[in-house]
């Protein structure tokens, strides 16, 4: 109940938007997720409660972008700062969603929400004030790459929401960066609607500082013939959850997901994915990697749902995990629920440590153990990092992972 009280004391009832009211109402019946439900069973309860401990902050301090702009043509947006956007060029347009469109879409989504499964989204939408919701409608082609930043300020709980409509035949590259400052909690929800024949290369890079927390949820709806590619990376969070829900609303769509989470110290980072095929000829290629060191805990749970209507679905899911310490833990649970019979579905999971034979080989060639481990790790990371758009040339993520982390 505390969190609801907190939101209410922070704002009087009149200042709450309609969406905030709906979500608060939904949360009221059970303000915290049920720890016994599958999705929250492994979640560290004290870490979750520390997420909610910080005071709610709706106005951020000035945000320092972590790396220089790639080129002039990149479009850079900061949620909470850039609210008025209207870019109309010859080939494309990027415009803010009207209040009505935004309300209508979010409300429609909320109607499908379930208390436990969508708790992070409900929390986000009850916290997000008008300024912290960015809604974009993107149309056209040859659109310059877009970067969207969300961040949480020190000692506070921030909520940011991003809603993107990708119009028909539109093709875009988008990188989302979520940054957590020291002792902060960030609740980030992203809603993506891909219309027919559109395609997006979406990247999510989330990294925190000392004791920062993140609840990151991503909700994607793909219409016919759309392609959704996602490269994601989560690291350096005391506690982070990344929840992905993708629905191929009429099938005939392509989804490629490559995600990675890296945990050290006593961190806990988890990824939950749910991919539903609601039409025939769907395609999914998913790989999720985890690396757990020290006393940390990495969790992956992925479910693929193929109902009767989704004939000729081709889905594969792979979970690859590296466990580097005696005290670390990895839990992985890939799940398939299949009713359609003409499908190709497969999944695989492995947990191991660095390959000793490879390490030995490199050492016999004069490479030190540290260097050899780094080489192995970089090949483990590279597959995911190279899938993240924009970042690869200017923003040296690999170096960051290998040396700073």
């Amino acid at each position: 109940m505390e969190i609801i009280e907190k939101i209410k004391t922070n704002k009087s009832d009149d200042n709450l938007t309609e969406i905030q009211k709906i979500c608060l109402h939904k949360l009221q019946s059970s303000p915290l997720p049920n720890p016994k439900s599958g999705l929250w069973r492994l979640s560290n309860k004290s870490k979750l409660s520390s997420f909610l401990d910080y005071s709610i902050n709706e106005k951020d301090s000035k945000f320092d972008v972590p790396y220089p702009k790639n080129s002039q043509s990149t479009i850079r947006l900061i949620i909470g700062e850039d609210c008025q956007i209207k870019l109309i060029e010859k080939n494309y347009s990027i415009q803010q969603l009207s209040e009505d469109e935004l309300q209508k879409y979010i409300k429609e989504q909320i109607s499908f929400f379930k208390q436990n499964e969508n708790w992070s989204e409900l929390l986000n939408l009850s916290l997000s004030c008008k300024n912290n919701i960015l809604g974009l409608k993107i149309n056209g082609s040859k659109i310059p790459p877009i970067e969207v930043f969300s961040h949480a300020s020190r000692n506070s709980l921030n909520a940011k929401t991003l809603v993107i409509f990708l119009e028909k035949n539109c093709d875009v590259e988008l990188l989302q960066v979520n940054l957590g400052k020291e002792n902060s909690s960030l609740s980030q929800s992203t809603f993506f609607c891909l219309k027919e024949n559109s395609s997006v290369n979406h990247g999510i890079v989330s990294y925190g500082e000392n004791r920062s927390n993140l609840l990151n949820s991503l909700n994607v709806i793909q219409q016919k013939n759309s392609t959704y590619n996602l490269g994601s990376l989560h690291f350096k969070f005391n506690y982070a959850r990344f929840e992905i829900s993708i629905k191929q609303s009429a099938g005939n769509a392509k989804t490629n997901l490559k995600g990675m989470q890296i945990t050290k110290k006593d961190e806990q980072i988890s990824t939950y994915t749910k991919i539903e095929f609601n039409g025939p000829n769907g395609f999914l290629d998913q790989i999720n990697k985890s690396l757990a060191d020290d006393k940390s805990h990495a969790i992956f749970e992925g479910s693929i749902i193929v109902p009767k209507i989704a004939q000729r679905t081709d889905a594969s899911q792979l979970s690859r995990n590296l466990l580097l310490s005696n005290l670390a833990q990895i839990d992985t649970k890939p799940q398939l629920k299949i009713i359609a019979d003409d499908v190709k579905c497969k999944h695989g999971a492995t947990i191991s440590q660095l390959n000793e034979e490879e390490l030995f080989y490199m050492r016999t060639r004069g490479i030190t153990l540290t260097e050899a481990s780094k080489l192995q790790l970089s090949s483990f990371f590279q597959e995911i990092i190279s899938f993240i758009p924009i970042s690869k040339d200017k923003w040296d993520l690999l170096n960051k992972l290998l040396n700073e982390n």
């Binding site: 310490s325 990895i330 890939p334 398939l336 629920k337 497969k346 999944h347 947990i351």
Partner: protein
């Protein structure tokens, strides 16, 4: 294109074990209470420690809730509407098979179980359990020569109480789960096997479970102990008559393997599955678990699950001893409205332990078939390995196949590999076989048999042949 109707019309073989043996039985009244448990214990002339074990389990059971996580859809079971003890009336003590009611022998004869002398040539010792009691155990003298004890658990309670007291409930404690607690409170009979140190059991041992009465549940308990450097292969078969009510079967099987011992436990489960509308059938809630206590010990489960309206079964291995090995080979076939939620747990505790899981699920009709498994590497399981493979085959677009493998590792110096795939009968392969003059249904059954080959190879020979036939029969009329 596969002609669905053609396939659906292919011979519809009725459940051939669905007959009822008309035999006078002794039943106690319906319901479950402390008094009933005391009555069962008294009828079986049990020592006090066992009655205490039962009562304790009953108290725990009363506080427990029926599990619902498997998401199996079935009507609520009224535990007070079940007869917890039913036994065919016969002379007090049987000294030889000749004294067994001929009707019973006939029943087992019909089921193809070699109880009578002329069939003993097959060299398999059989313990036949009819409703709540064990009817006969064959080859006892020959086994006794090697020091092997193979008898019903009630006899073992009387003659080997020390072993029962020492091991009963050590692998599956009474409070383990709802159905295990129920079984611990009311178990009626089952088999007991003890293989002494250094003995390789001279023949396969086998139990045959038969539910005959429609209103009594079957709660058998099996306990197998393999002492150091011993080995045994144990087979289990199950059938039941057709009733339009659901019968409850909640069994517990405990295996214990000491240093260098090996136990191979094979099951062909063919309980009555209910009719095409899903009326009747056995509710099969079974807890099977083996403990590899000793170094280099090995427990291997192989199962062919084709019957039961509902199957809830996870034969597991606790790998405690250094370099111990656990194996699980399973074929689960569901048709019509059957539901199966089966899989295994491999708990690696000791160092250098190894486990292999091969699971094949085939779902046809409107059935639901799930693989649910857990592989856990504990902090001390250094150098341990696991390999799991679960394949599902879907036949028809109404059936569902689910896989829920759960992997948990706390030991970096261990390796876990898991793979799963889902497919259907390939039309190209079917076409190829048909173009070579192989009948449609035979082609299908060949492909199913090929799909299950990895598991059938693990079954003892007689069982493998039976399992092949069983699958072919079960699938007839359902391929589409």
């Amino acid at each position: 294109m596969v002609n669905e109707n053609l396939v659906k019309d292919v011979v519809k073989e009725p459940y051939k074990y669905g007959f009822v043996t008309d035999i006078e039985t002794e039943k106690i009244e319906k319901g479950l209470s402390e008094d009933i448990i005391k009555l069962i214990s008294k009828k079986k002339e049990e020592p006090k420690f066992l009655l205490d074990f039962r009562l304790k389990a009953f108290q725990k059971w009363q506080k427990m809730k029926e599990p619902d996580w498997a998401a199996l859809g079935y009507n609520k079971i009224d535990y007070q509407d079940i007869i917890y003890y039913s036994a065919p009336k016969q002379k007090e003590k049987i000294s030889s098979l000749d004294e067994v009611d001929p009707k019973l022998l006939e029943t087992f004869d019909k089921l193809g179980i070699p109880l009578t002398e002329q069939k003993k040539l097959t060299n398999v010792a059989v313990d036949a359990v009819f409703d709540s009691v064990s009817i006969a155990t064959t080859f006892r003298e020959e086994l006794a020569e090697h020091g092997v004890i193979f008898c019903s658990i009630s006899e073992a309670v009387k003659n080997h109480a020390d072993l029962i007291e020492k091991y009963l409930g050590t692998v599956v404690p009474a409070s383990d789960n709802y159905f295990a607690a129920l079984n611990s409170a009311v178990f009626s009979d089952g088999s007991f096997v003890y293989i002494p140190k250094g003995v390789t059991c001279p023949m396969d041992l086998s139990s045959y479970f038969r539910i005959n009465s429609g209103d009594s549940g079957q709660f058998e308990r099996t306990l197998i102990i393999a002492e150091e450097s011993s080995s045994v292969s144990y087979l289990e078969g199950c059938t039941a008559p057709m009733f339009d009510t659901n019968t409850l079967h909640a069994a517990v099987v405990e295996l214990i393997a000491l240093d260098d011992a090996s136990i191979k436990y094979s099951t062909v489960q063919n309980w009555y599955a209910g009719d095409e509308e899903g009326i009747g059938g056995i509710f099969n809630f079974v807890t099977k678990r083996g403990k590899c206590l000793g170094k280099r010990s090995k427990i291997s489960w192989s199962q062919v699950e084709t019957g039961s309206a509902i199957t809830w079964k996870y034969p597991s291995c606790i790998l405690l001893g250094e370099e111990s090995v656990g194996e699980f080979y399973s074929v689960a076939l569901t048709n019509n409205l059957q539901q199966a939620d089966t899989g295994t747990k491999m708990i690696h505790i000791g160092p250098k332990t190894k486990s292999t899981i091969v699971s094949k699920g085939i779902s046809a009709g409107n059935s639901k078939n799930s693989y649910r498994g857990l592989v856990k590497m504990g902090t001390k399981a250094t150098g341990s390995r696991n390999y799991s493979q679960c394949d599902s085959m879907l036949i028809g677009d109404q059936a569902s196949a689910n896989t829920f493998p759960y992997i948990k590792s706390q030991q970096p110096n261990s390796e876990i590999e898991h793979e799963a795939s889902t497919c259907r009968i390939s039309e190209d392969q079917l076409f190829y076989l048909q173009s070579r003059g192989i009948e449609f249904e035979e082609a299908v059954s060949m492909m199913v048999s090929g799909f299950c080959r990895d598991v059938f190879n693990q079954l003892p020979m007689e069982f493998a042949a039976e399992a092949d036939k069983l699958l072919a029969l079960k699938l007839e009329g359902s391929v589409g």
